[in-house]
């Protein structure tokens, strides 16, 4: 008894009773809520941080600003925050996609400006129906992205340089489209302006959306569970699913309640969130998304696995520019105008910073669509908090820069830690 071995020799029938994925004796048992917590903490320790740093950062940022100015977490300010986040957040979804490939698009600001210019000129100067103007702007985005992708796959020019050229060239195109006037106002009664400025979900509808989201989560998890146990694999304890669903419900219901005390949940913001959810599904649960992750992780391996690598690059660059164009349209709608500085200033860098702050790695193959949502909320919170404190943009740039630097440092550190813990 004194020389008891740490690994008990299980009789074979005990092993067979375990799910297929839990039979290896080296696996640390992770059943039940306690086991899940243990796995979670060991993951954190090994540097697999996921979105935890952003969430913690966001709580700190909100706490500090609320302490400095108690109108920061007011319903009114939070509604403004959602309205400000939607446009650049949409652009950031595209950035997440190119970052997953380990590439970059520096021209998203210019593309969003061009889309705004096309919308305004089309609707106001040419008298096109707004649907036609919107489609024209989105098509411009698709074409620009395909051109980047073609240059990248055909000539192997680094995406950094291609899109830097695009940043200048498309800014020129934007000014050319706008013509001499420089600023074109989009009428307030037009659909896109109403959509971006004044369309909010009715209170009841917003709660229905939240409940549907939670119900969808529970149903998919339970269905997944039954499929897994039918296949002889381990499944998540129902208790665990319940806890997570409860957490999700709280995370969704509290903001909805707060937003509903003012104007409510902006439909434009809801569109942004819906796009995030759809892209998350596309990245995690489709062959296309799996291919994107594979190309970002190891291009040569992806190519040898028979993945159409060129097609993946083309589709991602095209999607990125299209999301940029869509973001530009939302921004133009919110501003009710397109001018020479549409998509200029910090649009570009905010979109890229949002994706990185949200936890998408600059090194490719690691990240999630949700980082666009989390990241843009962090950036807009800083921006909104500092303007509430009457600090001018010089401070805002410095603080945003510092947060970006912090986020990239966390990314690099956790990458190193993951490598050391065999989770690269």
């Amino acid at each position: 008894m004194s020389t008891a071995t740490p690994t008990p020799n299980l009789p074979p029938d005990t092993t067979a009773a375990l799910p297929a994925d839990l039979q290896d004796e080296r696996l640390i048992a992770s059943q039940g809520v306690g086991g899940w917590l243990r796995v979670f903490t060991s993951r954190l320790k090994s540097g697999d941080l996921g979105s935890l740093p952003v969430v913690v950062g966001l709580i700190i940022i909100w706490g500090v600003f609320q302490a400095l100015n108690d109108s920061f977490l007011s319903s009114r300010n939070l509604v403004n925050l959602t309205l400000q986040s939607a446009a650049v957040g949409t652009i950031a979804i595209g950035i997440v996609l190119v970052l997953l490939l380990g590439e970059i698009d520096l021209s998203v600001g210019s593309v969003s400006g061009l889309a705004a210019a096309i919308l305004a000129v089309g609707m106001v100067n040419q008298g096109w129906p707004s649907a036609v103007a919107i489609i024209a702007a989105l098509v411009a985005g698709v074409i620009i992205g395909l051109a980047y992708g073609a240059l990248f796959t055909r000539f192997g020019v680094p995406s950094f340089v291609i899109t830097l050229a695009g940043l200048l060239g498309i800014l020129g195109l934007q000014l050319y489209v706008l013509g001499k006037e420089g600023t074109i106002n989009i009428p307030f009664e037009s659909g896109i302006v109403k959509f971006a400025q004044q369309t909010f979900l009715p209170t009841a509808a917003s709660y229905v959306v939240v409940l549907l989201a939670v119900a969808l989560y529970v149903v998919t998890r339970l269905r997944n569970n039954s499929q897994r146990s039918a296949a002889g694999l381990s499944s998540t304890p129902v208790m665990m699913i319940g806890l997570r669903a409860l957490l999700l419900a709280v995370v969704l219901l509290v903001p909805t309640y707060v937003l509903n005390r003012d104007r409510g949940v902006s439909v434009m913001f809801l569109l942004f969130v819906a796009l995030v959810v759809v892209m998350d599904f596309a990245i995690r649960r489709t062959r296309w998304g799996r291919s994107v992750m594979a190309v970002g992780g190891n291009v040569e391996a992806a190519r040898r696995a028979g993945i159409n690598v060129k097609g993946i690059y083309l589709s991602v660059f095209a999607l990125c520019s299209t999301f940029a164009a869509l973001g530009g349209l939302l921004a133009a709608g919110r501003l009710a105008a397109a001018n020479q500085s549409s998509g200029g200033g910090d649009t570009n860098l905010n979109a890229i910073a949002a994706a990185v702050i949200g936890g998408t790695s600059l090194f490719g193959g690691r990240g999630s669509a949700y980082s666009a949502l989390l990241g843009i909320i962090v950036i807009q919170s800083i921006s909104s908090g500092l303007s509430l404190l009457n600090l001018d943009s010089s401070i805002r740039y410095m603080v945003t820069g510092a947060v970006l630097l912090l986020a990239v440092t966390v990314d690099s550190l956790s990458r190193r830690s993951r490598a050391a813990h065999g989770r690269a």
């Binding site: 897994r228 296949a231 649960r285 489709t286 799996r290 992750m293 391996a301 040898r304």
Partner: protein, 266 residues
């Protein structure tokens, strides 16, 4: 006497006169090569002999400049890895070509994911992964961890398991035992024999003579981008093969091979 192997009756894959140049370098010149179902052919040669180039040509990574390829009795040409895969040629490259950021299941099914409705069928892929890995008696603790966290032998196993998913007719293994320990090498060799028993044609690229002699039926030697003899393992020994690899001219086989190459050039 030359190697008197009876010509394979059912060559599943056969190359005739394949050449490949890279700029001024003639990497392959007039290569003839074939493999039958249920046969292990070792492809040996010194560094720079053109083994990897030949493997990549068969796998569709490179397109040959000259020569023909016959697969399953039909003349074909593969210009992409996907075509080779679809045809039934699976390749395990020396660098394994795994995506470190993806888990074992994702790597196994990369490029041929299973669907259930509009989403990936993760459950069935995981179930099948376990079935496949157990069949190869692989020791992998979890298929839901990134491949980066596996050991060298485990990664090799994942790569070989992946090559078997598409039900290939020919499996090419490029230096499968190069980075492995003693026990793991034996396991991979068992695996090779299991592939042969299942009727796969196996092309084994190796520097390790004892591995080659242990599992191969025939040995095909490349030297400086040319054929330098084919040997039946039962009728030869390591010395003879090594002589052919290094080009030592003191044995009859390499002399004959050299003469034949000269004649072809004229």
């Amino acid at each position: 006497m030359t190697a008197t192997t009876a010509p394979p009756t059912t060559a599943v894959l056969s190359l005739q006169g394949v050449s490949k140049r890279f700029g001024a370098v003639q990497a392959l010149k007039d290569i003839d090569f074939d493999v039958s179902a249920g046969e292990v052919v070792a492809l040996v040669g010194d560094n720079g002999a053109g083994k990897s180039t030949l493997v990549k040509t068969i796998a569709g990574v490179y397109t040959p400049d000259e020569g023909t390829m016959t697969f399953d009795g039909r003349q074909t040409s593969v210009s992409t890895p996907a075509e080779a895969q679809k045809l039934g040629i699976a390749t395990v490259f020396q660098d394994l070509a795994l995506c470190d950021n993806l888990d074992v299941v994702a790597n196994l099914y990369l490029g041929r994911e299973l669907y259930r409705g509009r989403a990936l069928d993760e459950v069935r892929m995981e179930q099948e992964s376990w079935r496949l890995l157990r069949q190869l008696s692989a020791k992998i603790p979890s298929v839901r961890i990134p491949v980066a966290s596996l050991s060298g032998g485990q990664r090799q196993t994942v790569a070989i398991a992946r090559s078997l998913l598409g039900e290939p007719k020919v499996v090419m293994l490029d230096e499968p035992t190069a980075a492995l320990g003693v026990a793991q090498t034996a396991e991979v060799l068992n695996l090779v024999e299991r592939l042969r028993e299942n009727g796969h044609g196996v092309i084994l690229i190796s520097h390790n003579m004892s591995d080659v002699m242990a599992v191969a039926d025939r040995v095909s030697v490349l030297r400086l981008g040319r054929n330098n003899g084919t040997f039946n393992v039962n009728e030869t020994n390591s010395q003879e093969i090594i002589a052919a690899i290094t080009g030592a001219t003191t044995n009859a086989v390499s002399e004959r091979a050299a003469r034949r190459v000269q004649k072809e050039e004229q």
